[in-house]
């Protein structure tokens, strides 16, 4: 129980990841699935960014003059997550494009209907 308490961020991230996974799994509507995927991605980004966070320091954005390096939070994870977010966005865009195509072809984006349609 103690472990859970002191690194609550990781637990939170995993919990959020679970929610996203459940959405992806149970909903048959494609859009809902994409939303589920996004939730999962965000949970990972939160986890990653959180790793770099040091209590009591600010975000590494230069407002007025450069403070000493120790004043800021570790910038690398946040930098990495920028690319991560870009990747997630491009995947979602691709998925949405495919959904439109699917709609053109099948007239519905409910996966189980597509399943029945194609089956008969």
């Amino acid at each position: 129980m103690q472990i859970l308490l002191n690194n609550y961020m990781i637990v939170g991230a995993i919990f959020l990841f679970g929610i996203g996974f459940m959405i992806l799994l149970l909903h048959n509507n494609l859009i809902k699935k994409i939303i589920g995927m996004n939730i999962m991605d965000t949970s990972i980004f939160l986890l990653f960014v959180n790793l770099g966070y040091i209590k009591g320091k600010e975000a590494p954005i230069i407002i007025d003059g450069v403070m000493h390096a120790s004043g800021y939070v570790n910038p690398i994870p946040t930098g990495l997550m920028l690319t991560g977010i870009v990747v997630a966005v491009s995947v979602t865009a691709f998925m949405l494009a495919l959904t439109i195509k699917l709609y053109e072809k099948y007239g519905t984006i409910e996966l189980d209907e597509i399943q029945n349609l194609r089956g008969d």
Binding site: F17, M40, I44, S90, F94
Partner: protein, 492 residues
Amino acid sequence: MQNLIKLIPLASIMILMLFAFVIPLLKKKKHVYKLTLVIMSLVTVINLIHVVYIALNGGYLFDVGHFPAPFGIVLRIGEVESGIGLLFCFINLMVLWYSYFSLEKEIKSNRIGFFHTLDFLLLASLLGIVFTYDIFNGFVFLEVSTLAACGIIVVKDKKANIKAAIKYLILSSLGSGLVLMGIAFVYSISGHLSMSYIHEALIQNAEGKHNLILISMILFTVGLGIKGAMFPLHIWLPDAHSSAPSPSSAILSALVIKAPIIFLIKVYYLVYGTTILSGTVVLDLVLFLGVLGMIFGSLFARSQKELKRMIAYSSVAQMGYIFFGIGLGNKLGLIMAIYHIIAHAVTKACLFLSAGSFIEQTGYKTIDEFKGIGKEMPVTLGIFTISSLSMIGIPIFPGFISKWNLAMASIESGKILLLFVLIASSLLNAVYYFPIIINGYFGEDNLVGKVFNSKIRPVRTLLPLIILSVVMVLAGLFSGFIIEFIGRGIYI
């Protein structure tokens, strides 16, 4: 001159990426083909030179943009990476050369430009995965390769393609999610992203964080497993292959599922290292899944109706061999895993292209309709036979050599029972390849009504296929050199 050659890996990635976006600018189809072939052959040649250079004076680290290690991105170029790089470029060249003749039949003419762009992007990202020494950089290249591969599948714009592409995309992004989480955990322990630094950090403060390391290892295994079509997670492969145009399904099964495996090996041995690895049971998990893959892959292949789906399942079985090699854990096992990657890539490309030409010429899809095709397209079925003989394990061919050495490795690692698995799976291979060949060439009622050489393709279209099969046979005959070459650069 020395550092010019050292530039080649980065240069090849850059050239491919650059020209990927030049191609859409061209209007005429003919120009697109010419440009792609020229660029592709250029990249292959420089990679060849690079391999020769590596063979002479060994591997090296290459800092991209002269930034030193912990901060800048570093490329680790050893014998294994350069070999695999050359393999990818060569097969991509052959597939493009083949698609030069047959692509119009499968996809609309305006889409050809997109196909080549995506193909270049895909190859660039694959080379990136193979060369990189930085795991986040690897992750990014993984994502790019997933999107590009998805693009290739969907370029045919049919109902089945879209469905297959969606399934592939969802599963791959799930996989990438896990990989990213793995990287997060590893980063939380070591604070670095470059593999060598992570390795040292992990060794120093590995005591407390044993659980975290274990979880990150599992995440990496499953994440990359999906992308590398590990047995239970191979579901997307058959759908993707059966619907995709044959050049793209050749690339898919020969190259796309191989790069994540190389990345997995690098993660295992460069990030974690043998000391931590031998402590855990992960390798036995990989071995177990590999064995399952070998047996059930062939079983499912046997019951398939369509030719392409059958070959897809046989790729799953062959990937099982590669995971089997990794799972053994000893040096010979790993070398043979990489050798099998090379052998399988060449053989599978050959199989898929010949299957593609069958489907293209006759218009049929299922195996029963290909009865008596030996009379109509004897040369193509001949090439198909040679590559399937290699799959089954006839002595001179590479398939046999990898089976033989995998057996030696398993004896070395003390697991004698695995011999039976190897034997059983090669037998199962025979069971589903031979009916096609026999019904193709022989059988009275199969050949009735078939005219000799009626559906033959002009010889120049078959040239890439012939070259591929010749290379495969050479890989078999000179396997001694290749194994010795890989042995020098292996990570253990």
